[in-house]
Assembly symmetry: C2
Homo-oligomer: 315 residues x 2
């Protein structure tokens, strides 16, 4: 097979042996694979993949068709259309996906959306619901809302009955973010004084993060997912103490399979029906063929995308 | 009545009008009142009291006898021995306590223990159980464990079946902290490399806090209660992200009455039987008569106390 590989900080379209599914793994012919900021970090050498995945093939999510199943696989069979959440290796012609972290791709959903669903929605769901305790009526700020996780988070928070504020640098995206469910959309500079919030999903980091801490209400929580604008802050604990507030932070990639399986199980039970019915959308900013992956990485790195950048197989 | 008052940063034993109980308030003749770090901060002008309490009379906890009840009080009557959690005004001959934040003082508990129970145990219970999600078997570090909150936290965590580590500067206290339930007791410098922990109760702050962040395990939580050694830290969010860890912080004093009432209700249901049976102890480092309050404040400020410093009425 061919696979996108990282060698000396460069992307190449290389030939590799076809993987062989073991245990409950599925071998999937990849039709689409979303890009994520973690892929950029890995390309830059900052984010080593977990040990149980191909070390030099990036990609945390994919959609495609099952072409072979391991001896312990029970939930899927050859020919099924699936979406998978993996620790690496998704950006290839063939990828291994344990069936515990695979979901059936709904019939009405095209490959480009299916390939960009898993990582963004899993991250947003985990941060908002499982870590953030999102409940009806909560005042939520999605900071840096235009990307894949941000657009997922707006939709999930709105669907949960929250009062959703979104911040995004690009004014031309604001109307679309409103359509996705944000009741208020504003520039980051305005969001810095727009609280109080019960929950802030921080996708920007740096000085914005510090400003948003000041916007937490009583018992508010700031959940850190992205720190592209800076990962070090000066934290005045008395500010948190006075509000009984907290900060939590998370990445998905390095978690063990059983934890990802629990998360994917929740996604299947709770979000898949909403994706199938069209209530949840996967906004796609741009698609690129696998052979043109460097352009896709450049596009993601430049930022300013509304939704996902997705690689699409020509096959 | 006489009351301890703060004027221009000095403590005085002044004459004030007797308070009159309104609504569901109890008028309590104070027999004992524990000191807390918040009292020291108030004396230094750093911690203004909430608006609904005497502005210049310190004291967040007391024990005494009910001498009059407001027209809406139902749970207590004149003559009852009670313990109260208040936002201020406890260090006086007479104090107002809403019955929602009062508990019956168990018969076998002396005044000095009763007067030092509420604030320390409410703070430790709230931090460990309600904010920290303490459960059976959790690996817990109590950082700066010798004081009132620390000795309460050791006992509560041990009673909850946690694996309890305590840090304390003074070696001569280590045996006593083991008796209270700590399985490991160590110097702060050793605690800085003693993890991983599921839960750190931070009562010291400053560089210790930063070191303890590095000792959090997966999904660990650091709950900040005390920051005497420094309230500003440089926080590297990638450290939290890699461990899916979090920081929360809290103070009790400024919370509205209904929140304190919910907390005191839990204390009454869950901890009072353990206090009455002797399973929970209130270690008292020193007692002082009210008229010698300045010595008590000096003693608390010097630190190095095992347990509470408590003011005792001579009446």
């Amino acid at each position: 097979m061919h696979a996108l590989t990282i060698a000396s900080g460069r992307l190449e379209w290389s030939t590799r042996p076809d993987p062989i599914p073991q245990g409950s793994q599925l071998l999937v012919r990849v039709r689409s694979a979303g890009l994520n900021p973690a892929d950029l970090l890995q390309l830059q050498g900052h984010y080593p993949p977990p040990p149980d995945v191909p070390q030099d093939v990036p990609g945390l999510e994919l959609a495609g068709t099952v072409v072979e199943v391991g001896p312990l696989a029970r939930r899927f069979k050859v020919g099924d259309r699936v979406m998978g959440l993996v620790g690496g290796g998704a950006q290839a012609e063939l990828a291994l996906v344990d069936e515990a972290v695979a979901l059936a791709a709904p019939a009405g959903i095209g490959w480009e959306s299916a390939g960009g669903f898993m990582e963004a929605f899993a991250t947003a769901y985990d941060a908002l619901v499982r870590q953030g305790g999102l409940t009806l009526g909560a005042r939520v700020l999605v900071s840096g809302a235009a990307g894949g996780v941000g657009t997922a988070a707006i939709q999930l928070a709105a669907a949960a009955g929250a009062q959703v504020t979104a911040s995004a640098r690009r004014m031309e995206f604001h109307d679309r973010l409103r359509e996705l469910g944000a009741q208020r959309v504003m520039l980051p500079s305005d969001a810095a004084e727009s609280g109080p919030y019960d929950l802030v999903l921080e996708l920007v980091g740096g000085p914005m993060l510090s400003a948003h801490l000041g916007q937490l209400g009583t018992s508010g929580r700031l959940i850190v997912i992205g720190v592209g604008a800076g990962r070090r802050i000066e934290l005045d604990l008395s500010l948190l103490m006075a509000r009984r507030a907290g900060i939590a932070a998370s990445t998905l990639r390095a978690r063990p399979l059983f934890e990802k399986a629990a998360l994917v199980s929740s996604l299947g039970e709770r979000l898949l029906p909403m994706l199938a019915s069209g209530r949840l959308l996967v906004p796609v900013a741009a698609t690129f063929p696998f052979a043109d992956a460097p352009s896709a990485y450049t596009r993601l790195g430049e930022g300013g995308n509304l939704g996902k950048v997705v690689l699409i197989s020509s096959g």
